[in-house]
């Protein structure tokens, strides 16, 4: 029998609705899994056992009374520790925020709890989601390797079964990279689709909140719970929220995908990763998807543009704290934040103009070729040992592994378009490989359709890391 913690959200939700399992059973199984794995992977900064048990008991009572709220009702999930939960510490991975207890819930937390989800804990993040320091979290696929970031704990908890789904944030790839490293599904929704209210900002014009799950369908379910306009977030956009699951079985015949080989399959992509993505393209082609070769030279500017914007925006947010509690920051984070203060306003504005140009060119590309999506590897590399993360790659010394890992993710933060990372097998080194689909704004449903069609053919959502248990 499938262990409870290995169920998808969709499957567990169905069992809950039929009263064939209780939320309390799911929570107890999840807490046991946390006990067994946390000493090894350190995905959680805070486990909320008693709170979760109380919420689960309430969910069970409601479901038994016929008040089932939907597929998230009674499902144990995890929240990245930069999303506020009322009256619970929120430290964002930093001593500089130690002792901070918010008096309100982030909108994403409130919406998930309104949908009946049971939050079992808060997950480890790089300090302030900046991705400069190394968190204690380890990926179960390779314990000496980088777990992906900054939503490291969210990615690992879902991969190892200590949460059914998790919330992460993505300013330059921080949902998609840990999803790819840990062999799960991660969505950076369209900018403005999911509220950031109550979430510690990194780059205010680049920040996104989104779900990490083990299947595409689960991702659609979680997005359904959290999507929608929120006047409390100045970046929120009032666009209709459609039913993200309803089109999953519609097939993909007639959809069109663009392939930008020069940028996304550049020489820094090893042969096995390249081959894995080519196989995805072949699969989609066989399913009736049109494949178009495209060129978008403006992608080349993504790293410089994003780093300039993010550097300035992050430093603006931290300006006061950096002067009051500088010693409490990790030295690498502090240096990045200080560096951001030296970015001239003229450079920031030039980067925002370059970004506008990229967005325009992306729109033109999609419209000219009638594209529904662009495809790429999520990351040109699988994860690497931590000691190699910031040293030149042996096979491509022009980049460090860290620089390679963010090569493909930055552009979607700049354009604001949705980007979905989906596992597509294992590389020659036995570590997960994922592909990324970039879509039209607010067309997450199309990405889910494409990814679900692929997933049904190849069952990559059944990939599981090697078992790691505490001794």
């Amino acid at each position: 029998m499938t262990p409870l913690t290995d169920l998808s959200i969709a499957a567990a939700g169905e069992l809950l609705q039929k009263c064939q399992v209780t939320s309390l059973e799911l929570v107890e199984a999840t807490l046991s899994r946390i006990d067994a794995t946390e000493p090894v992977v350190h995905a959680y900064i805070q486990v909320l056992s008693e709170r979760a048990r109380r919420t689960a008991a309430n969910a069970d009572r409601e479901i038994a009374q016929g008040r089932w709220r939907g597929p998230m009702h009674g499902i144990p999930i995890a929240i990245k520790d930069i999303c506020y939960m009322r009256d619970l510490p929120n430290e964002a991975g930093s001593r500089a925020m130690a002792g901070f207890v918010p008096g309100y819930d982030a909108t994403v937390v409130r919406r998930l709890e309104d949908a009946g989800a049971v939050i079992v804990g808060k997950t480890v993040t790089h300090e302030f989601a900046y991705g400069v320091n190394t968190p204690p979290t380890r990926t179960p696929w390779c314990l000496e390797c980088y777990p992906g970031g900054s939503s490291a704990g969210s990615g690992v908890s879902v991969a190892i079964g200590s949460a059914f789904g998790a919330i992460g944030t993505d300013t330059g790839g921080s949902i998609r990279i840990p999803a790819a490293v840990n062999g799960i599904v991660g969505l950076k929704p369209t900018y403005g689709r999911v509220s950031r209210y109550g979430v510690v900002p990194l780059g205010t014009s680049l920040d996104h909140v989104g779900p990490l799950t083990r299947t595409v369908e689960d991702n659609a379910i979680m997005l359904q719970a959290i999507a929608g306009y929120d006047a409390a977030d100045g970046g929120s956009i009032d666009e209709p929220v459609i039913d993200y699951r309803s089109g999953l079985e519609n097939g993909v015949h007639g959809l069109t995908i663009g392939v930008e080989r020069r940028y996304f399959l550049y020489e820094g992509v090893p042969a096995d990763i390249r081959a894995a993505v080519e196989r995805v393209i072949e699969t989609l082609l066989a399913l009736g998807v049109g494949i178009v070769e495209v060129e978008l030279p403006e992608l080349d500017w993504s790293p410089e543009t994003l780093m300039t914007i993010m550097g300035a925006e992050a430093s603006a947010f931290h300006r006061k704290r950096l002067r009051e509690r500088a010693a409490d920051y990790d030295p690498a984070t502090r240096r990045s934040l200080q560096m951001g203060e030296f970015i001239p306003a003229t450079h920031y504005l030039m980067a925002q103009r370059a970004r506008a140009l990229l967005k325009n060119r992306m729109a033109n590309l999609f419209n000219a070729h009638r594209l529904d999506a662009l495809i790429s590897p999520t990351s040109p590399l699988t994860t690497v040992p931590l000691v190699e993360l910031n040293t030149p790659r042996a096979d491509y010394p022009a980049e460090s592994p860290m620089l390679s890992m963010i090569h493909h993710t930055f552009s979607a933060n700049l354009t604001g378009q949705p980007a979905l990372s989906v596992p597509c097998g294992l590389a020659d080194n036995g570590l997960p490989v994922s592909f990324q689909l970039l879509g039209r704004p607010f067309e997450e449903a199309t990405l889910f359709r494409l990814a679900h069609a692929y997933e049904r053919e190849h069952h990559c959502s059944t990939l599981r890391p090697p078992e790691v248990m505490a001794r």
Partner: protein, 84 residues
């Protein structure tokens, strides 16, 4: 070309993000002065790495100088929609 020029020091200097271009080095003394003006407390031992980081950042922006940004307004009130 890049292979020969890429060193661990440069990678470290770029803090894993900025491309490995030859940044025009900024004198740490300049950073010290600017830090005072900005009200930033930068310990002496961190002045050099910060100078390197700032040099890398500024050098990376040079690539944007070549773009034709005529009539392109900065995305200050950002909206991802393509057709409003």
């Amino acid at each position: 070309m890049q292979e020969a020029e890429c060193t661990e020091e440069k990678v470290s200097r770029a803090m894993g993000y900025v491309k490995f271009s030859d940044a025009a080095a900024i004198d740490p003394a300049v950073i010290e002065t600017l830090a005072v003006l900005l009200g930033l407390a930068v310990p002496a031992e961190e002045t050099l790495p910060l100078a390197d980081a700032v040099s890398g950042q500024i050098a990376s922006v040079q690539s944007l100088e070549n773009l034709d940004l005529t009539d392109i307004m900065p995305a200050l009130e950002f909206d991802p929609r393509w057709e409003l």
